[in-house]
């Protein structure tokens, strides 16, 4: 148990990480960088679930289990995104997000 740490302190950390991830998402063009930024944002959301469960409802377990689901969904998302990136790289020899228009005909 950590004494003296309020809910707001942890929420501030997760907010800052979320906005840093968002900054990376809007500035980068490389798709792997975009994926890394999304992972940062998902991590901060998981931190939110944990802090609400532990600091506000310590007798319950819902936040804990939803963090497990969140991690599973994040793993699935990364596997699919990397498959798409690699198949796109095979077609165009580039993974820049602003050059992805092969589906627009």
């Amino acid at each position: 148990m950590i004494e003296g740490i309020g809910v707001f302190d942890v929420l501030a950390v997760s907010t800052i990480i979320f906005f840093v991830g968002l900054f990376g998402f809007v500035t980068r063009k490389n798709m792997i960088s975009l994926l890394i930024s999304i992972e940062l944002m998902l991590n901060s959301v998981a931190l939110n679930f944990v802090v609400f469960n532990k600091f506000l409802y310590p007798g319950n377990i819902q936040g804990y289990i939803f963090t497990l689901f969140l991690i599973a969904v994040a793993a699935a998302e990364v596997a699919l995104a990397i498959a798409i990136i690699i198949s796109f790289y095979r077609m165009d020899n580039s993974i820049d997000a602003d050059e992805m228009d092969s589906l627009s005909g």
Partner: protein, 174 residues
């Protein structure tokens, strides 16, 4: 009791530092390694609040699986010395400034909400989680559990088919 507080602030500071480094560095492989550091520090925070099983899952799935997957994707696609283009200073200023203003607005709004922290001594045991995940009745999570299982299966099949891509097409045409 003071020790845990100091550890929390060290973890928080390092997490913020490495996340900022991860989005601003121009070497893409370093960005992946800084992301790995953020994940490991987050697992440290889970250990700090006593969620040991969750910390183990975070370490195995995130730092063991996802980080390695991203590093392998980088190695397949780029040279290891590959550098991203520098973000122009203008973009830094207006995008960073807008998001900083958003974050400050968010934090000041959140600051006004009176969170009442409850100090509980309950420990979550792994058997509790296992029972809850497969309980059909009240407070059970069997439906999301099954949905996530089907999702994982579908994603794995889709990932194989998508990344095989061209080869499938030529085999069909033969």
């Amino acid at each position: 009791m003071m020790g845990a507080k100091i550890i929390f602030y060290i973890l928080a500071g390092l997490m913020i530092l490495f996340s900022i480094l991860s989005v601003t560095t121009t070497r893409v492989i370093r960005a992946a390694v800084y992301l790995l550091f953020v994940m490991i520090l987050l697992a440290g925070f889970y250990f700090l609040v006593g969620y040991n099983f969750l910390a183990g899952v975070q370490l195995t799935v995130y730092s063991g699986g996802i980080a390695v997957l991203i590093v392998i994707a980088i190695l397949l696609v780029h040279n290891i010395e590959h550098r991203l283009e520098q973000i122009p200073t203008f973009e830094y200023l207006w995008k960073g400034g807008t998001l900083l203003a958003g974050a400050i607005l968010f934090l000041t709004t959140m600051r006004q909400f009176p969170f009442e922290r409850i100090v509980g001594t309950e420990q979550v045991s792994v058997s509790d989680i296992g029972v809850k995940l497969l309980t059909l009745g009240e407070g059970g999570f069997v439906l999301p559990f099954e949905v996530v299982s089907v999702l994982l299966l579908a994603v794995m099949i889709a990932a194989i088919i998508i990344s095989k891509g061209e080869k499938f097409k030529t085999e069909d045409n033969d």
